[in-house]
C-alpha cells in the first residue's frame, strides 16, 4: 500500500545573514492513511519547518513531498486550491493563530468562503455545527477570540481547519501550550474527530509524554534530520538513537 504522504530527502533552507541556515536536512518519512505519526524533537530541530514544507507554506530547497501521489511542489493554482482543502493545520499558540479583530464565526467561516462551499445561511449553519462539534456553542460565533480560554481558542482553531473538510491535519504543537487538564480534553477531542472523520494526523510535539497514547508511530528529529522512526511501543521499549533516549529520560516519572 502506498502511503498517503511521502516525504523524500526534503531540504528546507532559510536565508539568514551571511548565508542560509538549514532547517530540514534530507528528511524522509511516510504517513499511512488514517494513522497518527508523531514528529518529536527539541525546539529548533526543524519539526515546524518540515510541517510547513508539507503544507507548501515555505519553499523547499530539494527533495519531494508527495500527497496521495501528487507532487505538492508542482501543483498548479487550481490543484493547489484542492490540496488546501484536503490538508489543514492547527498551530501551537491559539492566541497568535486567530485574528483578534474577527468574530469567531467569521474565523471559522473563512475556509467555507474561500472555497465557496456553502451560500450565506447554509454557511452560518455549518459554522454553528462545527462549533458544537468541537465542544463550543453556536452562540460563540458572535464573540471575539480574546473572550475565550486557551483551550477554547484551540477548539476554534480546530473548527476552522475542519470547515473545509480536510482528510489530513498537521497538528503543529497543537497541545503544547495548554495545561495538563485542558491538554487531555483537546487530545480527547482530536481522537474523537479522527475516528469520526477518518483523519490522518502529523502530530508535532517537543516531548514524548504527550505522544504515547496518540501516535501509532514516532519520528524523532534532531538538527533537521530524522534520527529514528519506529512504532510507538517499540520506540518506548527499545530506543536506539541517543536523542530518543534523552527525550525518554526527560519524561517526568510521576506521569506514569
Amino acid at each position: 500500500m502506498t502511503a498517503l504522504l511521502e516525504v523524500r530527502d526534503l531540504v528546507v533552507d532559510y536565508a539568514a545573514r551571511g548565508g542560509a541556515t538549514r532547517a530540514v536536512d534530507h528528511a524522509s518519512l511516510d504517513i499511512q492513511r488514517g494513522e497518527t505519526l508523531a514528529l518529536v524533537g527539541e525546539s529548533g530541530s526543524g519539526k515546524t519547518s518540515l510541517g510547513r514544507a508539507i503544507l507548501r507554506l515555505v519553499a523547499i530547497a530539494s527533495g519531494t513531498v508527495r500527497y496521495d501521489g501528487l507532487d505538492v511542489q508542482a501543483l498548479d493554482s487550481s490543484a493547489l486550491r484542492a490540496f488546501r482543502r484536503r490538508v489543514q493545520v492547527v498551530f501551537q499558540d491559539p492566541k497568535a493563530s486567530l485574528d483578534p479583530r474577527m468574530r469567531v464565526g467569521d474565523i471559522v467561516r473563512e475556509g467555507i468562503d474561500i472555497h465557496a462551499l456553502a451560500p450565506r445561511e447554509a454557511a452560518e449553519l455549518r459554522v454553528a455545527r462545527l462549533l458544537e462539534e468541537v465542544g463550543l456553542s453556536a452562540h460563540d460565533a458572535d464573540r471575539h477570540p480574546h473572550e475565550f480560554s486557551g483551550g477554547e481558542r484551540q477548539r476554534i482553531a480546530i473548527a476552522r481547519a475542519l470547515a473545509v473538510e480536510p482528510e489530513f491535519l498537521v497538528l503543529d504543537e497543537a497541545v503544547s501550550a495548554l495545561d495538563v487538564l485542558v491538554r487531555a480534553q483537546v487530545l480527547d477531542l482530536l481522537a474523537r474527530l479522527q475516528a469520526a472523520r477518518a483523519l490522518t494526523f502529523l502530530f508535532i510535539a517537543h516531548d514524548l509524554a504527550v505522544v504515547r497514547q496518540t501516535a501509532s508511530r514516532v519520528a524523532v528529529m534532531r538538527a533537521g534530520r530524522i534520527v529514528e522512526c519506529a512504532p510507538t511501543a517499540e520506540l518506548f521499549r527499545a530506543p536506539v538513537a541517543p536523542e530518543t533516549k534523552a527525550l525518554l529520560a526527560a519524561i517526568p516519572r510521576i506521569a506514569w
Binding site: 488546501r84 493545520v89 501551537q92 497568535a96 483578534p100
Partner: protein
C-alpha cells in the same frame, strides 16, 4: 474592526479635545455659506471699511479691500481643508496600496518601492512642490490636491509596509494562507484591519503636514489664486499690515496652528493607544 485601539482613544481626554476641535473646524468649513455673515469676496467700502479693527459687525475685522475677515476665514477653511483632506486621502490611499504591494510581493517589487521611498523621502517636499508648480504654472485646486497628495504617500507606504510584513509572519495569516486565501483576501480581511490604527496615525500626520503646505503655497502665490479665499492667501493679504492690522495675521496663523496642533495631538494619542494595546497583549 480594530476596535480596542479606537475605543481606548475614545476615553483619552486629550484625544477628545483634539477631535472636538477638528470636528468644529470641519463643521465650520462645511457650513461656511450659512455661517459667514458676508460674501467673502464682496468689497462693500474699500475706503471707509479698509482694515477695520474687530467689531460686533466684523468680529475679525476687515482686510485691505474692506472684505470681512471672518467670512474669508470660513470660506477659506472650505478651500484649505478641502484641499488638505483630499490630499491626505490621496496620499494615504496611495501609500497604503504601495506599502501593501511591497509587503505582499516582496523581492524586487519591495526593493523598488522601498528604494523609491528612501530616495524621495530625503527631498524637501515644499521645494519639490514649488518646483513643479513653477514648471507647470498656477494650478486649479484639483491639481493642487493631486500634487500635494501625490508627494505625500512616502511615510504611509513605509508604515503600512512595516506593519503588514510583521503581520504576514504571524500564525493567523499563515493559517489563512493554508486555507487557500488569495493575496487580496489576506490584505483585505486580515492585514488592512491590522494596520488600521497605524494608518490612522499616518492620516493624522499627513493632515498635519498638508495644511501648512497648502497655506505656504498660497502664501507665496503658487497655491489657491485670489479672489478665492484660503487660509494661506488671507495671511498673504495681511502680512504687509502686521504692525497696524494684527487681526489679519492672527486669524489664519491661529487657525492653522489650532488645526495642525489638534491633528498632531490626535496622532500622538493614537500612538500611545497602540503602544498600550500592544503592551497588554
Amino acid at each position: 474592526m480594530a476596535a480596542p485601539t479606537f475605543q481606548r482613544l475614545h476615553r483619552d481626554r486629550a484625544a477628545q479635545i483634539a477631535g472636538g476641535v477638528l470636528a468644529v473646524v470641519a463643521l465650520a468649513a462645511l457650513l461656511a455659506p450659512w455661517l459667514a455673515p458676508f460674501d467673502p469676496t464682496a468689497q462693500p467700502d474699500p475706503v471707509g471699511l479698509r482694515l477695520a479693527a474687530p467689531s460686533i459687525a466684523h468680529p475679525l475685522g476687515t482686510d485691505p479691500f474692506s472684505r470681512d475677515v471672518l467670512s474669508r476665514m470660513l470660506h477659506g477653511a472650505r478651500v484649505s481643508l478641502g484641499v488638505a483632506a483630499g490630499a491626505m486621502l490621496l496620499s494615504v490611499t496611495l501609500g497604503t496600496a504601495l506599502g501593501a504591494l511591497a509587503a505582499m510581493r516582496g523581492g524586487w517589487v519591495d526593493s523598488l518601492v522601498s528604494g523609491v521611498v528612501d530616495v524621495l523621502i530625503a527631498m524637501p517636499r515644499l521645494l519639490v512642490v514649488i518646483a513643479l508648480v513653477a514648471t507647470f504654472g498656477t494650478l486649479s485646486p484639483w491639481w493642487l490636491v493631486a500634487l500635494i497628495g501625490g508627494s505625500g504617500w512616502l511615510t504611509t507606504a513605509r508604515i503600512v509596509r512595516a506593519e503588514m510584513r510583521d503581520h504576514l509572519q504571524r500564525e493567523y495569516v499563515i493559517a489563512a494562507r493554508a486555507l487557500g486565501a488569495a493575496p487580496w483576501r489576506i490584505v483585505w480581511r486580515h492585514l488592512l484591519p491590522a494596520a488600521a490604527p497605524q494608518m490612522a496615525v499616518a492620516a493624522a500626520l499627513a493632515l498635519a503636514a498638508v495644511i501648512p503646505l497648502e497655506a505656504a503655497l498660497s502664501f507665496v502665490g503658487l497655491g489657491i489664486q485670489p479672489p478665492l479665499p484660503s487660509w494661506g492667501n488671507v495671511l498673504l493679504d495681511g502680512t504687509d499690515y502686521l504692525t497696524s492690522a494684527w487681526w489679519l495675521v492672527l486669524a489664519p496663523v491661529g487657525a492653522v496652528t489650532l488645526t495642525v496642533g489638534s491633528a498632531l495631538v490626535l496622532a500622538d494619542r493614537l500612538r500611545a493607544a497602540i503602544a498600550s494595546e500592544a503592551r497588554e497583549q
